[in-house]
Amino acid sequence: MKQFQYIRPSTQQSVLEAINKPGTKIIAGGTNLVDLMKRGVTAPDKLVDINHLPLKSIASTKTGLHIGALALNSVVSENSLVIEKQPLLSMALKAGASPQLRNMATVGGNMMQRTRCTYFYDITMPCNKREPGSGCGAMEGYNRMHAIFGASQQCIAVHPSDMCVGLAALDAVVVIAGRRGERRIPFTEFHRLPEDHPEMDNHLAKDELIIAVEIPDNNFAKNSYYLKVRDRQSYAFALVSVAAALDISNGVIKQARLAMGGVAHKPWRLLDAEKALIGKTVSEESFKQAALIAMQGAKAYEYNSFKLKLAPATITEALKHASGLV
């Protein structure tokens, strides 16, 4: 690990000024960043610790729920407002990492965590995301954990977060601060596909800071479910995960939200499948049809073709759980 400087400003303004300089990096919980530094994947000259900023609050607003960027994953997952209003988010968070990690990890850090692609982590391997132009080690390598949607010739990595899959399904909005003020973008437009620039995971500018996410109120609390399929029952990244939220009235689906994890470079929202569910009665058959629609355009690689079967099965199962069929 390279030697680096460390500062801990107590105002947002000084954080924004500090991160405007090249070679700086924000550190929140450090659960991802420190690993990347130890492996030599990233080597900042200066760490800007943001933990003294007042960004931990979780509060109800007129239109929804406001969650500060420094709220801990464990705290959010156990917060009574979250459990009451947005249980899907709580479930998604609890499916992630381990209790120890969730006790350190923050909402902002979770959104910004890098892919777990093993070639990205090993600096002796080619990886376009780590070193643009060096090639993609995973494309013809061990790509069991990799994308089946939205990949490019440059990169087939997936975004590893569970929380983000929940937030994408719930139409969350990201609140971002920059030196010229605040901006808000839909959660689904925060992360990006790799295209020709896999080194960029999202649309946050270098000199910007995530300060909160906001989730609009909805009618999904009764019929939400997060289903994560993984190689062991905790402390493993998703092979495939599905966030499902339904608004059901008299056995008929009025609204639906679906997003998948472990399948793309960003949380993969399933808009067409959602549309197909509206007006349908709650039944395994309608769920299977939606799952089929969701899979259009999927493309697998040598070691991850099982996802072509696992993904629709997981969508169907998640919908069955959300609707109370099981």
């Binding site: 690990m1 390279k2 030697q3 030599g40 381990s98 777990r116 093993t118 070639y119 090993d122 002796t124 391997m125 080690g137 013809e140 390598g141 061990y142 069991r144 289903l227 399929v229 993984r230 190689d231 062991r232 029952q233 905790s234 402390y235 493993a236 990244f237 092979l239 099982f306 079967k309 696992l310 099965a313 997981t314 169907t316 199962e317 099981v326």
Partner: protein, 723 residues
Amino acid sequence: MISLEILDLEISMFMESKTLNKRPVEDGLSRVDGRLKVTGAAKYSAEYNIKGVTYGVLVGSTVTKGTIKALDTKRAERAPGVLAVITYLNCPNIPGYHTDNQPAKGPLKIFIDDKIYFNGQPIALVIADTFERALFASSLVKAEYNKEQHQTDLKSNLSNAVTPGKAKDYTRGQEDAYKSAPIKIEQEYVLPTEVHNPMELHAIIARWDADDKITVWDKTQGVKSTQRSIAQAFKVPIENVQVTAPFVGGAFGAALRTWPHEIAAVAAAKVVKRPVKLVLSRADMFTSVGYRPQTWQKIGLGATADGKLMGITHEASGQTSVYEDFTEGAVNISQLMYASPNVNTRYKLVSLNVNTPTPMRGPGEATGAWALESAMDELSYELNIDPIELRLRNHADNDPLSGKPYSSKFLKEAYQLGADKIGWSERNQKPGSVTKDGWLVGYGMGTGMFGAYRSNATVTARMMADGTLILQTAVTDIGPGTGTAMVSIASERMGIPANKIRFDMGDSSLPPSPTQGGSQITSTVGSAVYDACNELKDKFKQVNGGTDSTDYVQVLKQHNLSQLEVTTLSKGGSEMGNYAAYSWSVHFIQVHVNPATGVVRVNKAVSVADAGHIVSPKTAASQIKGGSIMGIGMALMEEAVIDHRYGRLVNNNFADYHVPIQADIPQVEALFVNKPDPHLNPMGAKGMGEIATIGVAAAVANAVYNATGKRIRELPITPDKLI
């Protein structure tokens, strides 16, 4: 779950029952070092604060085969705090590396030349005044290589398998007799590479006390063997090497031998003229201290229509390194387990550009049992006979290999105990026929066996004036609870409470004991404790004018003695030659499998051991539970993956290399037949470290088949293989 009872140093009902056989298994001593371990007071190798210590970090090769063309260590050497960068170009002479009559193949000699045999092979050791500085400097070491074409893939190299010098093809009766049997199966089974990955990283602190005197604090399963290896490598008198390892945080075989990095640390300490501490990283653990080798196996079983085995053929090809042949008994279990008139086995090695494997808990047998016990299950379905019934019909009453009677064998009772406990009668022979809450339910079982041994050990037993009994021997405790077992034996022999007994171990200056491995320590060192206690009692009797007394304090006082001491060498008797001695285990598993997602949950696990008399019931139960968990991991998760294009591991960390976590494991029930072996040793105890794992993986795979009708013949059984 850490229960409070681990903290409880009191000896409970243990003392009350005087006869060994009547003691119920749940009783017994809690781990004598439990409090030290859970409070962090137990000191492991890396934790010693040695004056003037420096820190080493290894740099590994990034190519898989070839030679080092150029090494640039200048930047690293100039980095802050760096004391030395040791490579093949400047490594001081390690005299033991240059003796006459060196065999063509042998252990890797570190920093001896420019040759690269596997990816991750150490090419440099950076020594600095702090760990962080050493780590930073290690990133500055740059190497260029002449790359050569490597081979790391076992499957595509099976045609290059050769029979190693040490292994002999085995035939009893007719070869390949299964082929002409009325009912037969023939299948291939693949076990991936598994890495021991004990919690504690390998660590050594090495210090030169004089030109010919070395002290090491080292993670090792055998302080005496480490002492010997270091003395040989550096050509110093063996008594001038002091090895200390009172606590070992798990090893499973990975610390059975002295590895190149340990030699390097000692060499480095000479270079910097200060003590050197070298702690391997988790990634280093995958390439520096061995692993259970990937092994391809093929089994043919033939039987009569009523399920009598007519022939077993078992072939195995395991991987080894190019510089060293590592062989293990993968096919032996098929020669031993069942009464079949015809058996033939063949064992081969495939040399690849990988580091050398090493025994891992249940070495060979765990690999072989995965195949044999899966195949037996397949045969049971072919015959439509209950899997336990099939095994009973082929039960060996005498050792099929030697024809000798067993020293003891209560396997049939073990089947019964386990079947009752798991509820085997609920099992339906038809796969996929039982469901619960939308999950498929299946039952499976597998048998394990491993040789029961006793070798030589010496123990000093010293009674102090205050009534404290001190036992001393060099043995290590890698986790099974050796200290607890020894204290239990001594407490029973001497008739004094356990909290009056201290067991000193893990120190090469103590009387010799074997390396902890091969499930022989309770038998061997336990016998020595047993014998030493008897001798000490005799000595007390003598001193006391021929009268027995357990009031040792009084006797010492009366005769004005500050202590009384014996040192006893204990050896197995020659009568053992008349018997074949094995420990046995049966593992039962109930799984729930999600038909949609392929997720497997082990819902119940029952393991029964026929390990003779159970000397230390609590630690024995822990041993069985741990072994079962290891077997579940073997079945469902563990797999070290190499990207063969680069010859490099792609999951050499604990996020990507999966072992079971708490949520994966149900309450594991450990049961014991608990009947003494009348021949092996005075306690009637047999070993159980290995049998705890042997047979578990097959039990899980068999349960998955029973649940789903899908037979997985290549581990691990991950969800993708079941959808």
